[in-house]
Symmetry: C2
Subunit: 640 residues, 2 copies
């Protein structure tokens, strides 16, 4: 896109309405996301490496070389993928900062992985060696192709940030990808992976190599899914989207991470192959998934049992699964659809999900994580041990590591590559999708170099000031996304003229001069949000939102109240902003205890309304559980 | 209790406020339960035998004898228990009807089981033979002691209905029980079973044999639980109630079947050992479990993930697990507490659970079953195949059999022994807990023979007419339970005098003459029921109840309405009884579809209120899904 230097971005489609800008073009210089990137680099990456070593998951590659794998291997069947996701995170981080020490750690791990690769390119520490189950003997649960997919994504990240680096990762990936194509090609095993991921990875590997063989293989995997090739497991074939062909599905369903990863890969295949009906199927699945099966946080997955989407409108806050990785997968999918279609609704969901799912997972210090992101915590429950991996996915506080520890590495790679999800270009100019202090540079196809800088306190400040930093005699267009939540009161000011703008792109096409400024002003008044009446579990409740942020009521903010469930919010007074915190007027209630909680008398079942608590301060949802154990609600029952 | 002939009842405590009457003393002659017992005998028992043979689970015992077990064994680790539960069901049925053909089938199966027992008394087809895992090598999941427990319960049922029968079952059970005591005694393995059941079974076996060794072993198992002897599994040790000592727990928790079976066994141990504090712990657990963690149907278990109780107030109707077996376990527990304490609240829960959980599981024809009993079905979903076992626990229609098929045999043994849960005695007379057409006979400790007959259309008719069928010169007391739901309007008529009675026992002590009649009249007006406000998932909804029956809105009763979720009930008009069916006034609503289901405008989020549908007929919950696929709700949103 920018001459011979590849764009440092995870997704580079051959066509589409918008073209992504990469880490080399978008710099984040401060604010909400810079702080998270800094914590990610300083705390999370070393934390992950510590645990990957301690858990023995990197050591598995050494054991493979030593021949002790069948006896001493540690970790679940997909643990190799965590090393690959960590390598991907490091690759983006090195691309972002050029950290030399990180570069050397990166190379050391790549060497250990490379040493374990077998002669024919197969690399996996769980299968295929003496004393282990044979290769590809458990396509439902073995995650072998899934692991290869993450290896390819790491290699792609590296190739786009350090093209031609002599670390050997790309060669490992190429041999693994070739092994997959040889094994699962038209004349090979007629199978597919229980956990999608190889599809999107192969397409990107085709893009980075220019070799369509990988694209063809990805398309074959997509075609194979949905015909019952995978066994019928306890959760049903819907769990891995194998119950119906991809083209026939009309909504995201089954395991929420699998669903998003698959749909991302399908979008990639559809774009590359100009398969309009296939892309349309993904659009429909996304639209219905977002309209009926997504939490207000952007979180997806309402079932603990199978980490899956529920049926339409099944969105219980207290049993929300909303896995961090499903949030990452949702960003992956929405970004691909945004590039394909240019519809800002996709960027709306990305923003919501980044602020309220991806950034909720890590603690303020970047060393513990939520695996699931519930919207209602009723009890403090069993608190995690800061020095032990958590067996279970849900806890009242974040845990340092998990037996299934997919989320920390997914957060790390997303944060390290975050600037690649901020801006795009088309032949006319630039589009800004996410707002943060920083700079965006881009060379148009006709060779003109554009540059803008952005100053904003977003998500807290009202104004996004975009300053033109390049001079050009010919006009080009600058588009700013007006978020869907800013339906009333947003304005755009250009050259002293202010005009109201509504959700979608606010576009200004003109001959820009260095120093020109365009100011998007957003209505940063905190607001009540009402759920669709079909979501039974939050009937009679409101959420409170502030810009793109979902807020929550956390017990540590209400001294003297035993549980947040004893509060009712008075919706006759809108939420207010008081000294930088959003408050709502609440009333305390006292529940009546009965032997049997179902009564013929409505009054007996209702709580006793107690004193007015006046204003109660809410917490930004992503920041809850950073002040010790607490109970928490996003959806607040209203006072009658 | 009745001289030398044992009472044909599953539970015969040595002490307690009330003494149970057995199948030999209580005859059910018609009505709701007679019909279910008849279907159970004619359809369900042969259906179960067919599937036990077809699935190979009885055949496993033959394979054990042939030595082919390690290669050819079929079924899950607990499949032996289904044979034992089936034997128990047959034993009660033979005791009830004396069916000679059933007797011969019973003996044939006992012979196959007996042949597989090993020399030291151990009997299990899953463990301990060449090529199998060693005995007791998987106490968390192996279910070996659980299986022995059900073997003992079958033997107890047989011993109390055919004492001294020469079928050999009792000897098999005794040798298995002795093997357990030798293996797990004070000097044996310091372990316990991941699925409680052996505890209650050993106590009953002690009662039937008079040998306290079994009681001592049961008490040892109870003491061992709650100290982390079982491994920490994914669901946490709470799953099998091993996270804290039995005496310290204050509420039913973890896996709902395990919780109830354990508490039943603990109650048995506490009663036998006069351990007042232990019994008090069980009472507290039951009271809190019922007050905060039980569905309006009596169903228990709100989590699919681990088939477990949720935290307090977590009772989502659409994700209700409410496993049939948890209902059976709840009846077991409440019955033991009723016998110990004489508190009619226990009988209230038994009634609710029998009508709305246990009788909901089997289809009208007795050949398919609900494993889970949801309170809200939103979609038709994947319908079960009438000729294949269902892999999954939840379906829109009942399934003929399951991979884990605990529920059909549990329903069968409960229905066959149902008359043992109807009436009790104390030194003063009789107590009637459940109402059905039938007769109750009893010999008081002083030798007097009492007999009453009961005529009623319960649960549909208002009147329960109890006629004295014996003559005696000395007074004795007759107590009739006034259900908790009959808080207003119940009356008792004796000898022409009518007086109001409230929930609890209505007791009449007098010298009764043959032909005397006592009539309990219950307020059979259908009623709205309101949930405690802490149950977030049903806020703004009402249920409709009619006597002890929970009603439901089923889509097959509302032609032209796509889903029951499109209806709102008008609570300003009470439910009415029209031609034998309960109706409510409903209004149809049309939901507004949006791209994003959370809106700043409350009106936009609310549905459009449509035409009045007038009266909509409800179905008795236990009878839903007997007319083809449908959607269904127990909790109905109210019209504003």
């Amino acid at each position: 896109m920018s001459g011979t230097v590849p764009t440092a971005a995870p997704v580079l489609p051959i066509r589409g309405r918008l073209r992504p800008l990469g880490l080399d073009q978008v710099r984040i210089t401060g604010g909400f996301w810079a702080e998270r990137q800094s914590i990610n680099a300083a705390a999370t990456l070393p934390h992950i490496e510590h645990w990957l070593e301690r858990a023995g998951w990197i050591g598995n590659f050494d054991l493979a070389v030593q021949g002790d794998l069948s006896r001493d291997r540690r970790g679940r069947e997909f643990s190799d993928s965590e090393i690959y996701k960590f390598l991907e995170a490091m690759a983006w981080e090195i691309g972002r900062t050029g950290d030399a020490e990180l570069e050397s750690r990166f190379r050391a791990i790549v060497r250990r992985v490379a040493a374990a690769q077998q002669a024919d390119g197969y690399v996996n520490t769980r299968f295929g060696r003496p004393g282990q189950a044979p290769r590809w003997s458990d396509l439902e649960w073995g995650h072998e192709l899934y692991c290869v997919g993450h290896l390819l994504q790491a290699a792609v990240a590296r190739a786009r940030t350090r093209p031609g680096a002599d670390d050997g990762l790309f060669e490992v990936a190429r041999r693994a990808a070739d092994n997959v194509c040889e094994t699962f090609g038209p004349d090979g095993i007629d199978g597919l992976c229980g956990h999608p991921e190889i599809e999107t990875a192969l397409v990107e590997f085709a893009r980075v190599t220019g070799d369509d063989r990988y694209l063809t293989q990805a398309a074959l995997f997509v075609d194979r899914r949905g015909h019952g090739r995978l066994s019928d497991v306890e959760f049903g074939r819907e769990y891995f989207q194998d119950e119906r062909p991809v083209r026939e599905a009309t909504v995201l369903r089954g395991h929420a991470v699998r669903a998003n990863y698959l749909a991302a890969g399908v979008a990639d295949v559809a774009v590359e192959l100009k398969d309009a009906s296939l892309l349309d199927a993904v659009r429909t699945q996304w639209s219905n998934g977002v309209a009926r099966r997504t939490y207000v946080t952007g979180g997806q997955g309402s079932r603990h049992q199978d980490e899956a989407f529920g049926e339409d409108w099944v969105l219980p806050p207290d049993r929300a699964y909303s896995e961090t990785c499903a949030g990452v997968g949702s960003v992956m999918l929405a970004w691909r659809l945004l590039l394909a279609d240019g519809d800002p609704r996709y960027a709306d969901l990305i923003e919501r999900t980044l602020f309220n799912v991806v950034s909720t997972s890590p603690s303020a210090d970047g060393r513990s994580f939520f695996y699931t992101n519930t919207l209602h915590r009723r009890e403090l429950g069993t608190l995690p041990d800061a020095d032990r991996p958590s067996l279970r996915a849900a806890a009242s506080l974040r845990a340092p590591w998990f037996e299934v520890s997919c989320c920390p590495t997914n957060v790390a790679r997303t944060l390290a590559s975050l600037s690649a999800y901020v801006a795009t270009s088309d032949d006319e100019g630039l589009q800004l999708h996410q707002y943060l202090p920083g700079t965006v540079e881009h060379r148009l196809p006709d060779g003109r170099d554009l540059c803008v800088s952005i100053a904003t306190d977003y998500p807290h400040g009202e104004q996004v000031r975009v300053r033109i930093e390049s001079d050009d005699d010919r006009p080009w267009s600058l588009s700013l996304r007006v978020p869907g939540w800013a339906a009333q009161g947003a304005t755009l000011t250009v050259d002293g003229d202010t005009r109201p703008v509504g959700p979608g792109f606010a576009t200004e096409s003109r001959t820009w001069r260095r120093g020109d400024e365009i100011v998007l002003s957003l209505p940063m008044t905190p607001r009540f949000t009402y759920p669709d009446a079909r979501i039974d579990t939050v009937r009679g409740c409101v959420a409170v939102e502030h810009g793109p942020l979902v807020l929550a009521l956390e017990s540590v903010d209400v001294p003297g109240v035993e549980t947040v469930d004893e509060l009712r919010v008075d919706t006759s007074q809108p939420p207010r902003l008081v000294h930088g915190r959003v408050t709502v007027r609440c009333r305390r209630v006292h529940s009546r205890d009965h032997d049997w909680p179902y009564r013929a008398d409505a009054v007996e079942s209702a709580p006793v309304v107690g004193e007015d608590l006046d204003e109660v301060a809410l917490v930004e949802y992503h920041d809850w559980a950073n002040r010790g154990p607490s109970t928490m609600r996003v959806w607040l029952p209203t006072a009658r």
